[in-house]
Chain length 494, copies 2
Amino acid sequence: MAAEQDPEALEALAAARPLLTDLYQATMALGYWRAGRAREQAEFELFFRGCPFGGAFALAAGLRDCVRFLRAFRLRDADVQFLASVLPPDTDPAFFEYLRAVDCSDVTVRALPEGSLAFPGVPLLQVGGPLLVVQLLETPLLCLVSYASLIATNAARLRLIAGPKKRLLEMGLRRAQGPDGGLTASTYSYLGGFDGSSNVLAGQLRGVPVAGTLAHSFITSFLGTEVPPDPMLAPAAGQGPRVDLAARVEAWLDRVCAHLGRGVQEPHRGERAAFVAYALAFPRAFQGLLDTYSVQRFQMPWLESISIAVSNNIGEEELARLAQEGSEVNVIGIGTSVVTCPRQPSLGCVYKLVSVGGQPRMKLTEDPEKQTLPGSKAAFRLLRADGSPLLDVLQLAEEQPPQAGRELRVWPRGAQEAWTVKPARVEPLLRLWVQRGQLCEPLPSLAESRAFAQLSLSHLSPDHKRLEQPAPYPVALSDKLRALVASLLAGGSS
Amino acid sequence: MAAEQDPEALEALAAARPLLTDLYQATMALGYWRAGRAREQAEFELFFRGCPFGGAFALAAGLRDCVRFLRAFRLRDADVQFLASVLPPDTDPAFFEYLRAVDCSDVTVRALPEGSLAFPGVPLLQVGGPLLVVQLLETPLLCLVSYASLIATNAARLRLIAGPKKRLLEMGLRRAQGPDGGLTASTYSYLGGFDGSSNVLAGQLRGVPVAGTLAHSFITSFLGTEVPPDPMLAPAAGQGPRVDLAARVEAWLDRVCAHLGRGVQEPHRGERAAFVAYALAFPRAFQGLLDTYSVQRFQMPWLESISIAVSNNIGEEELARLAQEGSEVNVIGIGTSVVTCPRQPSLGCVYKLVSVGGQPRMKLTEDPEKQTLPGSKAAFRLLRADGSPLLDVLQLAEEQPPQAGRELRVWPRGAQEAWTVKPARVEPLLRLWVQRGQLCEPLPSLAESRAFAQLSLSHLSPDHKRLEQPAPYPVALSDKLRALVASLLAGGSS
């Protein structure tokens, strides 16, 4: 089978499983179809309501996975048969015939580029198309975007703490929430600013740089009585006779122990044999492994050039300590705390209907936190002269974009009064990626998105970038959007 | 392609990705191979060090996924090529030839049956086979067991709180850590005691009962001006003329509003239209949807028979409130708090080498918490006369099993003194599932494991089952195992 030979094809197939959804998407699809509304043109927005981890920013991620999912979206025979088995037995068979033909060839997606700064209420994705189809997409798109963005944001925070020079490696596959949780974490922690991952599959499928050396089981497996089949090693320069590394280590042991004032029996024999075995396998990339890191400093200049890597339950606090000036640690492996995001393990994105048949829709609710913003919208980032973002403005799609150097009245969410702002620059936020099922422009590579994320973050003001108790970044409505909200609220309560 | 037509085959292919591992497994494999030790017989144990969520028990889960992974484990050409691209360029090509032939045909697995009560230090899995192969399995097995067991345990706690009668549904796919995080969560929350899931793929691939009705977007999509193409509904009994449901609803509206003392304009038109549309699609399974649940009680007997389902940020505390006697809620949908396990998002299982070539191995470390228990072991649960577990005992594989009615001296971990116990019954804990690559007995179905989990929990004493500040369940060592630990500790420090 071709898929067995091609991990990427397999991955694409496995990722594009249209039944990875909540059953109520299928029951609603039936409801729309029965009401004759399956093909009505609808638009949903995917956004989050609050930034994760007590911060004031998030990074948008997951678009590439969404696009791949959409393009392959098609219910196979077995999928339709399964749905028929869980929907009421008296369901009209014509509905299932309809489902067999459903795909995303009429779906249009606008989105923040991956790696963009994202703020509450600003759509990460706008998804337009036939009501039945775009409803079916809700759960998989939420699943693909929320965790990817959460991980990218978490990684970006850790990178901000570590500073630009430390090498940060994600090593959390074994702690991840399922195999794909691990793959997603490795991919998007790289996007968020890590340097690489221990996860080989993320290297193979996503091009994430992979890294790894050895674990304690390797040490434990050696007693010191093992005889390497070939203890000889050629000089690194390629010239000269091969040397017996195992014998050389024994010969040096006396001298080193004397120098350190230790007994020659003190170093554990199994440990020594393991390090020799590792050096024989990796003559140019030796790495020792200590269980507990408490270095004694000796006066040996070559010790200065040794690269020290640590990993063990490292979270934001511990990382801050390691990142302090003067720390000799230069590679930091992080597992659980980057992969599972223990401080907030889900981003809580939502996917809300904003228009049907060109008419704005809004969820009316007693809880103002849960009110949605109606209508097909555009979003812009207003920038100061120094390039730092001032605020994001949401407006109706048909409105004129804000203009650089021109005064503008906007209504920041949560504020009682309007603000008048004069942006030095204006950036449209949402790009058209998929139009009626067709990709409009190539998606940036993962490495490009990673660079874009670091660039975006570098422009964000320290007030918003601060990790604890930051100033919230303002997201505002245009006059017209605010008026639409008010009129729908008034209409809804009549 | 066949896989396109068969979701299970596709799933199996996608799950069995041997590169879903940490790179250091591959570097260690090279180290073992270079040292001539690839085929040495080794045994690893997979266990956790502390029960999750502040409780005193966990449920073992994930074995089925592990067995599937092992049986399909094989490095494809593309996998070996990728490894060659990330290992040093001067690596002996014979190593990669060796990897091409690696599979699990010499691997043996003993394990707790899925749904078993599991306690700290007792192996969930014992994995024996050639050193190189069983080392490569570390990360995928940890990834497959840890999260599955965490979710099953979390679900079991929620079931204990809810009591046996409430219907508990997992609805967290959109909050899951990646698509497979969702699939794993749906599968193992069912094993842990939930009644079903909203996740359709879990139904299709794992046989989890699926459930779902409608979301707010369905309501929001209706204005009330829509005309259903066919508003007629046949009587449920199948006899008599069809009725115009939409007209019937309008006709009843006056009477109901008068009865409730409300104005006839008060119910929202769009909401009414949505409910009519839903009832037309699901005439035998109508479900209304309210945004905020604050029922006013009216004197109408038929209201008593209505099933009320709730879902919104329900964690352990909120569930306890809903589970109280007299609550009218009988179906409870839980998302984030079951799926992401926010209180402790990873179980932290470890996979430790316990023997090589029949010789016991032990990790020597300054941190007694991280010490491992050496040697190939057997594990037994000692039971009281009422069938409740008294303690688990770990002993060397060659020792005689404890016997019912016979006094036994054991050393509970963490205690200073030996205990003498006389079990009424003795259960061996670890079963042989895979012998040299062959499945020895059929794995229980998911539903069987679910029933076994509930049965196991029903026997656990309330002291250990209590969710907050429970009494720790004792895990003890035999005399001989304790002596082995002592002798290796003494040898290691010499």
